[in-house]
Symmetry: C2
Subunit: 277 residues, 2 copies
Amino acid sequence: MRGMPDTTDADGLTVGQVSARLGVTVRALHHWDEIGLARPSLRTAAGYRLYTAGDLERLHRVVVYRELGLGLDGIRTVLDDTTTDVLGALRAQRTQVAERIDRLQRLGTGLDRMIEAHEGGPLLTDEQQAAIFGPGWDPDGPARARRRYGDTTQWRQYAERSASRSPEEWQAVADDMAGLDRALGEAMDAGVLPGSAEANRLVERHREVFASYFPLTRQMQVCLGRMYEADAGFAAHYDGIRPGLAMWFRRIIDAGARAHGIDPDTATWDGGQEQRR
Amino acid sequence: MRGMPDTTDADGLTVGQVSARLGVTVRALHHWDEIGLARPSLRTAAGYRLYTAGDLERLHRVVVYRELGLGLDGIRTVLDDTTTDVLGALRAQRTQVAERIDRLQRLGTGLDRMIEAHEGGPLLTDEQQAAIFGPGWDPDGPARARRRYGDTTQWRQYAERSASRSPEEWQAVADDMAGLDRALGEAMDAGVLPGSAEANRLVERHREVFASYFPLTRQMQVCLGRMYEADAGFAAHYDGIRPGLAMWFRRIIDAGARAHGIDPDTATWDGGQEQRR
DNA sequence: CTTGACCCTCACGTTGCGTGAGGCCGGAGA
DNA sequence: TCTCCGGCCTCACGCAACGTGAGGGTCAAG
């Protein structure tokens, strides 16, 4: 044991040995040396860094504080400046860590909501989905929604908005949608005619409510109107409010579009969109 | 309302206006333009950037994904590459976030432990402290410890080690300390003499156990031995194990130091330490 | 003497902008 | 008309903590 060639009793360890012992990279040791945070007190004739036991102690302390997330400058003051309030620095770091955890957790729920929305998950209850996209929803609904709307930009935008909207806020949107349905029924009762100011107001209101899901151009709205009339599920929903409402709704949408210089007969879902090169 | 000079209907917003609307800095907009992530589709004759409604949509999407913590490269692929698996990217990001939260939480408990140690908090129970530093501990103990050891490097090192040691591990150390006490008593019973191999082994054992708290040089150990004999509290503790053990312990420490070429009569707490410039 | 594992010193790359420096543009007041 | 002020432009460096070669000595072993 005495004569064994053991490195533990050498008067210095090289970077590689220190690296292995402390679990830090050689480059980090170089870096800490460069910036004067922890330099070896010895060098061989060839210029090799040699870390003494004292150097190792300091390095160890650096590692500890680094694992606690302190910046190298902070570590330097904690180690060198004996007048520093270590406790204060630690507490400051602690609150910072708590804040970062908070931020990350909010970020996580945002991600969760967005993932759920992409999956067509429970963000929208069946009733909510029915209120928005029509009533043709079975338990298989989300999958149908994806089949209907596919992997379109609009579906993505809907999902993206989920990230920052809580279920309650989505409920509010659904309520708005229900309120619009009621208003449509009442307007039809009152004999509101396509193209009238009242009808156009309702069309704009529909566009605005829908904009909570994704930006809806007037051209897109025209296409939606068509679908409300043509699709059995949607037609059933609107005609369930008032018989004939689906057709009437399509007509006031068309008239509204015309009032904005759009020919509803040539309108397409992607019409008038800029290209992205 | 028609003739009002309103910017909302302009065919483009300048960087400042976009910045105000989206809550991002002008520099960020410049940056995203530079790297081609989100560039304005228009420029004025003077070279001012003008962001159209379509540009704003894209910018908004960028902001959303950025808030979710995606890198700009990731955002670019999500926005541009329609074949990208957005869900996959989101889920990957989610697990990453979860991991980061984990890391931060471990880091937080490390900080907590270290802060508690600095405060002399409940890391060590009164019994544990007594076992280590001697029995002179009242409820006021921690404060006394700080008065005794002050704001020394050693106390800091003890605190630093707390960061990575759980209470259970500290208990193990305390157990080792208690075991050492027993061994000392038995050795004294057996008539072990200072300077004997058995005595030196015990001295080394004491140094190693103590090294769990902070690095203990042999010189420091000599000083500790003195204190064990001189301090009423410590003396009472060791003499409580066996009458005369405090003095005997001091003697075997001195002899052990001498065996390593140290003169116990001239040993100081800071002796033989390298200087930090 | 050569080999292969280490070591050295530059020196640029990374991420997402912050922060000036130096200068042009555009609307309002003297 | 001149001037002023706020906003816009383009460089271009800085940052935090190293990662990652490039190009070249050193050291113990075969």
